[in-house]
């Protein structure tokens, strides 16, 4: 891998991590586990459309692991990792059929996949399916948050690469 490419990936991972840490400082108005804005996913969505799949996976892996370290909540790692893997797989598949004009749509579906992954991890860890009741709530908030991060990534791409 070229040094320049590596530096770019490192920069993107750092940006994602900074957004993750800033987001922790924003009080969450919804007292339901798993609901959050997911600002760091702006970087993920951007990377899905601009970098190769394995490069995006590297950024996400670094962000999820270091996010758990900085967040001081290692037990959240499993949930976020499961969600992130599902989200990434879903978005990488959609990337193939969706043009760059529909990044917001890709992001929404990605968020839904993320919620399904989170709940699957929660069911596995808590050994009860009753937590699945959270899925509809997470899906509603997740799609809205996904729309927001997706639109942000779309505007970002337009500004960073005005020619395309």
């Amino acid at each position: 891998m070229k040094t320049r490419r590596l530096a770019e990936l490192g920069l993107l991972a750092a940006v994602a991590l900074i957004m993750f840490v800033i987001e922790m400082r924003i009080p969450n108005p919804f007292p339901i586990p798993g609901i959050k804005l997911g600002l760091a996913n702006i970087v993920t969505v951007y990377a899905v459309f601009r970098y190769r799949p394995y490069e995006t996976a590297m950024i996400v892996a670094v962000r999820v692991i270091l996010g758990a370290v900085f967040g001081g909540n290692p037990s959240a790692l499993l949930y976020s990792a499961c969600g992130a893997v599902c989200c990434l797989l879903g978005m990488l598949l959609l990337r193939k059929i969706l043009p760059e004009k529909q990044i917001w749509l890709c992001s929404i579906i990605g968020a839904m996949f993320h919620n399904c992954g989170q709940i699957a991890a929660a069911i596995a860890v808590m050994r009860t399916v009753s937590v699945a009741a959270y899925l509809p709530l997470l899906l509603v908030s997740g799609s809205l948050a996904g729309l927001f991060t997706g639109l942000t990534a779309q505007f970002l791409l337009k500004r960073i690469h005005p020619s395309s």
Partner: protein, 118 residues
């Protein structure tokens, strides 16, 4: 929009609508009075909120932390916990049978008993 994008958008909208309807259903208040406190898949306590005395139960977690569950005038809530996210505390009192109080870091669930269960 391409045809595929339209199909995906329609599917996303359908999932969203179903989720909204289910959310409304899930957030309804329940007439059930019996509650269960479950940790890591094991049933620790059962109470009937109508008859249970006001009390505070300290539940230790596997990682050395704890949750303090309070039963008060027919309601139950997690009063304090030393988990980092405090979501279980901020969820307030248990209201819906479909939406248990959950502390993910301590694998603790406070929920209404299922229909017909002891």
């Amino acid at each position: 929009m391409t045809k595929q994008a339209k199909i995906i958008a329609a599917a996303a909208a359908a999932v969203f609508l179903i989720a909204v309807i289910l959310s409304v259903y899930i957030l309804r208040k329940t007439p059930e009075n019996r509650i269960e406190i479950v940790q890591d898949g094991k049933l620790l306590y059962t109470f009937n909120l109508n008859t249970a005395e006001n009390q505070s139960i300290r539940i230790p977690a596997a990682d050395g932390g704890y949750n303090s569950v309070v039963i008060e005038d027919g309601t139950v809530r997690v009063e304090t916990a030393d988990c980092p996210d405090q979501t279980c505390v901020r969820m307030g009192t248990l209201k819906s049978e479909h939406l248990p109080l959950v502390c993910l870091p301590h694998k603790l669930i406070v929920r209404f008993a299922e229909e017909g269960a002891a």
